[in-house]
């Protein structure tokens, strides 16, 4: 396929229809937002571990209105917590993760020229870009950005009189999220249709790399769950701006008696979490897929239990739709419902456990090559285990009573999302960087990045479980108002210490990434000696991916160290030898 349009800067780098460029747009936007989100967490951690102390850096970043005399304003604290969550959950771990790897890998791994609709794909990025601009603008409004938590429960998120951030800041947040959801849906359409329709000859569904399965399932989850968040947000917009009573009832705020009756905040919670729970699997699944790939390539072994891995992902996806109530055990809902959600939530542990055992079996008797990507993959397994296990406590309604909304939850979700899913993302970047940019990322900086991150991140989030078991609630501006928490200040200081180190070392990654784009050592077209189709493309990256015909596929992607082979890998494009049996 040849391209007749003249390549201008605009249509090569800005309004590109090429999936590889769109992927990089998502990646870089995601990285920049990640830096902003991380910075926010450092700022509010400073406040938490040193309440009442003045920090010049707070005033430097936030100005004298929100950090007068270097002391963080309590409303801004809640804004930072809200925006940190919003940016990291949606912008980095959803758009940054799926947007990058789905766009980059799908055509390359299934053997297609590009996505089913390059135009919809481009739109998907530009909606995301506009959403980003709107969200960032909300940081600068006079009454402050949204501050009712990333979960924006009404009435707090509906009433500016309840908290200043629920004014214009919340409006902009809602507009940004609506645009974000549209972006996500446009992307999802492409991912599903392309994987189902545009596979090359020989690429049956059972020969798909696990990354493709993961992304396909993620996209289906997204199409079915994001629109429900849109409906929840729409009704919230009406309550906020048009005086309806979908969520509001019996309220006196700021001395004013409101007219709303008959609304239910719990309705919002149901609609929100109907997306909210699948959302965390939308975040996790692509990383599960990436890690399967990286682990196999770098252990020089097939991923153990391909069918079981696919089955487990399908089970997780299906179950993810029926567990949302575990976020709502103490909302006053019918106890019977609570039992149902406990049951389904604990069930989800089974396919998750199966996946972990399969990963361990993949490593067993492997011949492991420790690239930075592989280290992050091993880190993924460790943190997914840790975070998954604490989920057993939170998913049990009786136990949740005393740990709901405490630091126990904060520890849990950061370990599964902020560690596991991000490690998957890092792993993917280090692994596919040569394919994206034709150069290698620096190995030593990669090692440094991994070890400091691995140690600091556990240093930040593991202790949080103890804070939670000591009864410490989340989203508290300071812990000094209750004498019962005085003994916990040492733990808080340790957490902040590791948070600062962990935050700073991410700059090493950012530096490595951008330096290597321009000055990294040139890569060969298959530096990791991997089997999948993307490594058969020329290193210079062209529109349409392959210069001639798209290669045909003859086998599954995991023929590593297959007995009887000449090398320890056989690419999918290699026809079966005489007498060779396909796995």
């Amino acid at each position: 396929m040849s391209d007749h349009h003249k390549e201008t800067f605009l249509n090569k780098y800005v309004f590109s229809l090429d999936h590889k460029m769109i992927a990089k747009q998502f990646l870089i936007t995601g990285m920049l937002m990640g830096i902003i989100g991380m910075l926010m967490s450092i700022l509010f951690r400073l406040q938490l571990s040193n309440p009442g102390e003045s920090f010049a850096v707070l005033e430097w970043f936030l100005g004298s209105k929100w950090a007068p005399g270097g002391i963080l304003d309590p409303n801004m604290y809640l804004s930072l917590v809200t925006m940190h969550g919003t940016i990291l959950v949606f912008w980095v771990l959803t758009a940054g993760l799926t947007g990058t790897f789905a766009n980059f890998l799908i055509p390359l791994q299934i053997g297609a020229r590009d996505m089913a609709s390059g135009f919809l794909n481009m739109l998907s990025y530009w909606f995301f870009f506009v959403a980003t601009v709107v969200l960032l603008c909300s940081l600068f409004v006079e009454t402050g950005p949204a501050s009712a938590g990333w979960t924006i429960y009404p009435p707090l998120s509906a009433l500016p009189q309840a908290i200043p951030g629920s004014g214009l800041g919340q409006d902009l947040w809602l507009v940004a999220i609506a645009l974000f959801i549209v972006s996500s849906l446009l992307g999802g359409l492409n991912y599903i249709v392309t994987i189902l329709n545009l596979r090359t000859k020989g690429m049956s569904m059972s020969r798909l790399p696990l990354t493709m399965w993961a992304i396909l399932i993620t996209a289906i989850l997204g199409v079915l769950s994001f629109p429900v968040l849109l409906s929840a947000a729409l009704l919230l917009i009406f309550d906020r701006s048009f005086g309806t009573s979908f969520y509001l009832s019996d309220i006196i705020i700021g001395g004013e008696t409101l007219h709303n009756t008959g609304g239910s905040p719990v309705l919002f919670e149901h609609l929100f979490w109907f997306l909210g729970h699948p959302e965390v699997y939308i975040i996790l699944l692509p990383s599960l897929g990436i890690v399967s790939e990286v682990m196999s390539v770098n252990s020089r072994k097939p991923i153990f239990g391909y069918k079981a891995m696919v089955g487990a992902m399908l089970a997780i996806a299906f179950l993810s739709f029926v567990v949302w109530g575990h976020h709502m055990f103490i909302t006053g809902m019918d106890p019977f419902l609570g039992s149902v959600f406990t049951f389904t939530t604990l069930l989800i542990a089974i396919p998750s456990a199966v996946k972990v055992f399969n990963y361990l079996a993949t490593l067993w008797k492997g011949s492991i090559r420790f690239t930075p990507a592989m280290l992050f993959t091993i880190g993924f397994v460790s943190t997914f285990l840790t975070g998954g296990l604490t989920g057993l406590i939170l998913g049990d309604s009786a136990l949740d009573i005393n740990v709901h909304d405490t630091y126990f939850v904060v520890g849990h979700f950061h370990i599964v999302m902020g560690l596991s899913a991000i490690y998957g993302m890092f792993s993917g970047v280090y692994h596919w960087f040569p394919k994206m940019y034709g150069r290698m990322m620096n190995k030593k900086l990669g090692y440094l990045h991994f070890w400091v991150t691995f140690i600091s991140a556990y240093g930040v989030f593991f202790p949080m479980h103890f804070l939670g078991l000591a009864g410490l609630p989340r989203r508290y501006y300071t812990n000094s108002a209750f004498p019962m928490f005085d003994g916990l200040s040492d733990i808080n200081e340790i957490i902040t210490f590791f948070a600062i180190i962990g935050g700073l070392v991410q700059l090493v990654f950012v530096f490595n990434f951008f330096y290597s784009i321009f000055k990294g050592t040139k890569a060969s077209s298959n530096p990791w000696k991997a089997n999948t189709l993307e490594w058969t493309t020329p290193i210079e990256r062209i529109h349409g991916n392959w210069p001639g015909e798209i290669p045909e596929v003859y086998r599954w992607p995991y023929d590593y160290s297959k007995p009887g082979a000449d090398e320890d890998f056989i690419m999918q494009t290699e026809p079966l030898k005489e007498g060779e049996i396909e796995h």
């Binding site: 089913a116 609709s117 919809l120 849906l185 999802g188 359409l189 492409n190 599903i192 249709v193 392309t194 189902l196 329709n197 545009l198 199409v223 079915l224 769950s225 994001f226 629109p227 429900v228 968040l229 849109l230 409906s231 929840a232 729409l234 009704l235 009406f238 048009f242 005086g243 309806t244 009573s245 979908f246 009756t261 008959g262 609304g263 239910s264 309705l267 149901h270 609609l271 109907f274």
Partner: protein, 184 residues
């Protein structure tokens, strides 16, 4: 090349419609939850919404005929334009329906509003927004039909417009019956 593009375009549309369905599933679930609580009024469904239902069903039928015609090699133009006209009439009926509601004291917000009326407005409004997309598609298809751009071999545009329009039709019928039952 065209068959695979046909397939992918249609599938893109199907997946998109699945997403839109979930959006309305969210809204109708909200109605179910809310209507079980106290303070849920009953509303007489405006006669205009009955008329709009007939209009959209008829317009879908016209599109089916249009597609059959083009398959046989005849011109589908009059049927597509007819569907467009009925679609515009659907929009008009919706607006008149809202006008009738306010005349009867059922408002969207403020004094005179109640949860049932608020939901009625929100859901019909959300549907109409999606119908606008369908009307644009019908307009484009009509123009192309007038220009004789569709042949027996290639009438993908009519197919896509029809699929989406039938979806809007069925969605409306579902919402209409659902609301009829919920606010009686």
């Amino acid at each position: 090349m065209s068959t695979s593009k046909n397939n992918t375009s249609k599938q893109l549309l199907w997946v998109g419609m699945a997403g839109i369905s979930m959006f309305f599933a969210g809204l109708t679930s909200a109605v179910i939850v809310r209507s079980a609580e106290h303070g849920w009024n009953s509303i007489d469904m405006p006669i205009w919404f009955w008329r709009s239902t007939i209009a959209i069903v008829l317009s879908s039928i016209l599109l089916i005929i249009a597609q059959n015609q083009v398959k046989k090699g005849n011109t589908p133009t009059v049927y597509i334009v007819g569907a467009l006209v009925l679609g515009l009439f659907f929009g008009y009926c919706q607006l008149m329906g809202w006008k009738q509601l306010t005349a009867e004291g059922m408002y969207f917000i403020g004094e005179g509003s109640n949860p049932a009326s608020s939901f009625l407005y929100v859901i019909t409004f959300a549907h109409l927004l999606h119908v606008i997309g369908g009307l644009i598609a019908l307009l484009v298809t009509s123009v192309k039909a007038v220009q004789s751009k569709y042949t027996k071999e290639n009438y993908l545009g009519i197919e896509l417009t029809s699929i989406y329009w039938h979806f809007l039709d069925l969605l409306w019928v579902y919402l209409f019956v659902f609301l009829l039952y919920s606010v009686k």
